[in-house]
Symmetry: C5
Amino acid sequence: MLIARVIGTTVSTIKDEKLHGKKLLIVRQTDEFGEAVGKPYVAVDTVDAGVGDLVLTCAGSSARQTTQTKDTPVDAVIMSVIDSLEVDGKVVFRKS
Amino acid sequence: MLIARVIGTTVSTIKDEKLHGKKLLIVRQTDEFGEAVGKPYVAVDTVDAGVGDLVLTCAGSSARQTTQTKDTPVDAVIMSVIDSLEVDGKVVFRKS
Amino acid sequence: MLIARVIGTTVSTIKDEKLHGKKLLIVRQTDEFGEAVGKPYVAVDTVDAGVGDLVLTCAGSSARQTTQTKDTPVDAVIMSVIDSLEVDGKVVFRKS
Amino acid sequence: MLIARVIGTTVSTIKDEKLHGKKLLIVRQTDEFGEAVGKPYVAVDTVDAGVGDLVLTCAGSSARQTTQTKDTPVDAVIMSVIDSLEVDGKVVFRKS
Amino acid sequence: MLIARVIGTTVSTIKDEKLHGKKLLIVRQTDEFGEAVGKPYVAVDTVDAGVGDLVLTCAGSSARQTTQTKDTPVDAVIMSVIDSLEVDGKVVFRKS
């Protein structure tokens, strides 16, 4: 899984029928301190995450292992909102 | 999923029989503002996208979860045309 | 899928029994104009491609969706020979 | 599989129900000598690994092939703690 | 598939039960001439390869398509030892 920050939202009218009602958020991978690195990607939100939240995303066929994404053409899912990260014994991120 | 722009088309006579009748478009990943980054790849179009459109593509086994791509040797599918992107509360892309 | 050019061949005597009789070609990803970029990889040829051909390759579990690669330990397949590529309305590659 | 070092832990209250009770560790890929390289990622621990341990992680659908991760939305698993690494005939890492 | 050179071995006591008896080798991807490039990764050996051998590795779910790796939490397998590589009509590598 990747640690990622939610940075935005996408709106689409024309889409596969299995995507109707799904919330597709724009996220960017972060390092272990919550700082964004790398290119943005889009993930289905299954945990009511919001812009600014630090989340975990799961990719590939594993992204279809939630009840909301089963048999759906999606390759990334947000399946957790991060409360805190601890690195080498120190808390380096805590959700405000 | 990746945000991508459709930049072209491919034509092939010799191909796997399951690819007959499929439209294979050349796309390039973009950043969250719709600017192309990275190398081109090819995706099956399932939503009648056209050159210039900003789309969402889905990769891997998830690309076979549409009715048009089931059991087909394809690893990327266009399953949505993007209307608009919003980042940090501002609309940064709107389809013209 | 990736646009790739066939650059060579591999020969192996010791291999998984499911690979017997398979042609394993060395390819390199190209950009949308057919110019090679990136590292080489090896793909099973299912369309009688030859060195110099521009082809499409499909990766991951999708590479096992052809009749020749079903249930086989291969993660990349050549399933199309490219005739032409068109970018932004111009033909940028045509097979000679 | 990747050689990786465990560098931290994640805490989440809001998460997919299948993740309850799972330990999600932050790891970083290392080179063959155990030196960290690249960005951090998060893997489910199935072997009671701890911060500082050098481990093997397995990605993608293969990460769901342990009894603890079956049918779970996770794409990386720690399924081995490394005792030692030998490169070109020399022991280059030994667990202390 | 990737062309890779076997550079070492891993030893683990604590591991998933399905990994018992499996030989896990450290490999590095090579270019088409057999020169190592990129970071090391670990693959299950199914063809009795040894340190120094040039091999083919297969990744992802396809790595579980050999009799030795079926249903096992591994995402890379060595399923061929390379005898020779030919690029643009010239033999560029031959096993000694």
